[in-house]
């Protein structure tokens, strides 16, 4: 806790050193990504459910707030209740039927769901088709103010996820992850527990989507591809030695590295793929010998 506060304070001093909008913008992007990773960490890290379409919830959050804000000229904050409803609903609609099945089915169904959301956003008129929605009012116009907003929201999201992980529900998640049969046998309704993780994860993703819409003021289907889902997953997997601090670092790393690697756009995802395989191989070899 002390370390977390120190880290928070350290990041909060960033505008003292630079108020370059580029750096602050990048920091805000990293913050939003960390928040996404925190949401996915609830699903994958705590509960052990593989979600390959997490960008769908990100998209639902961004589109719901974007559409409401531009059509009805609402401030972005006023769209939050609708975003909450939409993401909870989407989480129940997708998680409800599939969480009863084998867990690896969930991976593919969420992947399909991610594609459905993206394709639908590209085709529908209300979502602006391939060009998307523009002119979304920002939550905070000043880059420094937006940076602090993202910082605070992300910190709250992380604290929330970590506290959930230590709650009774969180312990049930970890039990389900380690041994679902044993969890069921001790009286945990594994289905409900998994659904709770899935829905909470989707709410985190949706709220990150609102921040994203505010930051860019324009959203299009191109931001919500499988690549996005996969990158968040990479962050969670790389960082998660069952520890949310690792996820924060990995998420910031994954968010910032592509920006730094802009010179070699082709190789970077190839390297990501190889890295993913190597990390998994190393991690599980270590466990086998231990």
């Amino acid at each position: 806790m002390k370390r977390a506060l120190l880290a928070f304070a350290a990041v909060a001093t960033l505008p003292v050193f630079t108020i370059s909008p580029y750096v602050l913008n990048m920091a805000a992007t990293a913050g939003i990504f960390v928040m996404l990773a925190a949401g996915l960490y609830i699903v994958v890290g705590y509960c052990g459910l593989l979600d390959l379409g997490f960008a769908a919830f990100f998209a639902i959050g961004a589109y719901t707030s974007g559409i409401l804000a531009t059509r009805f000229e609402l401030p972005l904050v006023a769209t939050l209740p609708a975003v909450l409803c939409a993401t909870v609903l989407a989480g129940i609609v997708i998680g409800g039927p599939t969480l009863r099945l084998r867990s690896d089915y969930l991976a593919i169904v969420t992947l399909g769901f991610g594609e459905i959301v993206r394709v639908t956003a590209t085709r529908l008129e209300i979502t602006g088709g391939p060009t998307g929605i523009y002119g979304i009012p920002p939550l905070a116009a000043d880059p420094v103010a937006f940076f602090y907003l993202v910082l605070v929201v992300t910190a709250l999201a992380l604290t929330g996820a970590a506290r959930l992980g230590r709650s009774k529900l969180g312990r049930a998640w970890q039990y389900v992850r380690e041994d679902e049969d044993a969890a069921e046998a001790t009286g945990i309704s594994t289905y409900r527990v998994k659904l709770a993780a899935y829905v909470l994860g989707s709410v985190w993703g949706g709220l990150a989507g609102v921040l994203f819409a505010s930051q860019l003021s324009a959203i299009s289907p191109a931001s919500f591809t499988f690549l996005q889902s996969a990158l968040v997953l990479v962050a969670v997997v790389l960082g998660a030695a069952r520890n949310i601090t690792g996820v924060i670092l990995a998420a910031a790393f994954v968010a910032v590295t592509p920006e730094l690697l802009r010179a070699f756009p082709d190789a970077r995802y190839f390297l990501f793929g190889v890295l993913l395989v190597v990390v998994m191989l190393l991690r599980h070899r270590r466990r086998a010998t231990a």
């Binding site: 599939t98 009863r100 991976a107 399909g112 996969a230 082709d266 995802y269 793929g273 993913l276 998994m280």
Partner: protein, 295 residues
């Protein structure tokens, strides 16, 4: 109407070929081989380069059939290599770990091909635009007919191999009970490698055929077909080979009629909608065994 059926059969036979590999691998080691769609893409690209090499020597259907065999061998070996490097060391690891590894393999294949071949779509150097003939009101070419026939022959050959030969019996034994199979002297690792070879070779064949049929290929083409093939495998009953064939054809036909009804841009949404409906209503598929482990 009969044009819709024909289109459905054609795409359905690609789906079926890819779904077979998915289903075989799942049946034998309970792994959703995420990279399977990318092996299909790999096949299409190998075919592309071979056809470009061959273009001075022969062209048209004979060249395509030669290239088909070469691409099948190459993708088969690639499948064995993937299994050896990425999946075999994780055989005892939790399933989530293996799935994530498979996602990593998929990424490496996609962006590896992109590094070599570039991001732009490539025009396939052979086209099946021979003289179209009218058959029961559908326009189709002799080359298309040959390709569908090849697809069906491959499926039939696989079925015979699995059901009638010693090697096939070993595969079925491992699918039924890996430990008992091992105890009765079956070389489990070798048989799994063979399954990967067969499944990947079929996916590679489908890749070459799809390249020739659609006329253009790109490095992400395996992503959607991987999803579709999984859908087909689920519709038919995953782990069940006739089911995978049936599921592939059924999905092809469903999509073809769905497209006729709603327009082409909703095709993928329609297919994944089918997947979700099937998983909810009948998770064991048309021919499969019970897929729900616990409620």
């Amino acid at each position: 109407m009969s044009q819709l059926i024909w289109n459905g059969l054609f795409t359905g036979s690609f789906y079926a070929l890819v779904a077979l590999g998915y289903s075989m691998v799942y049946g034998i080691i309970r792994l959703l081989n995420f990279a399977h769609g990318d092996v299909y893409m790999l096949g299409a690209f190998i075919g592309y380069y071979c056809l470009t090499l061959l273009s001075g020597v022969t062209s048209g259907l004979p060249a395509l059939l030669i290239v088909l065999v070469v691409a099948m061998l190459a993708t088969g070996l690639a499948g064995v290599g993937i299994e050896r490097l990425a999946y075999r060391p994780l055989r005892q690891a939790p399933r989530l770990a293996v799935l994530i590894t498979a996602v990593g393999v998929s990424f490496s294949l996609e962006y590896g091909v992109r590094l070599i071949a570039g991001a732009d779509p490539k025009v396939y150097p052979v086209r099946l635009d021979g003289q179209p003939v009218e058959l029961l009101g559908a326009r189709l070419t002799a080359e298309q007919l040959v390709l569908v026939a090849v697809a069906f022959v491959l499926m039939g050959a696989l079925h015979t191999l699995v059901m009638r030969t010693r090697a096939g019996r070993a595969m079925r034994a491992i699918a039924a009970d890996p430990k008992a199979a091992h105890l009765s002297g079956i070389e489990v690792g070798q048989v799994i490698a063979r399954v990967f070879f067969l499944g990947s070779a079929l996916a590679g064949a489908a890749g070459v055929m799809a390249g020739a049929y659609y006329g253009r290929i790109e490095f992400l083409m395996g992503f959607v077909i991987g999803l579709k093939a999984f859908t087909a495998a689920v519709i038919g009953g995953i782990g069940n080979l006739p089911g995978a064939m049936l599921g592939g054809l059924a999905l092809g036909l469903l999509e073809s009629f769905g497209t006729g009804l709603t327009g082409g841009e909703w095709r993928d949404v329609f297919a994944f909608g089918c997947l979700i409906v099937f998983l909810v209503a009948r998770p064991q598929g048309i021919l499969g065994e019970k897929a729900v482990v616990r409620m």
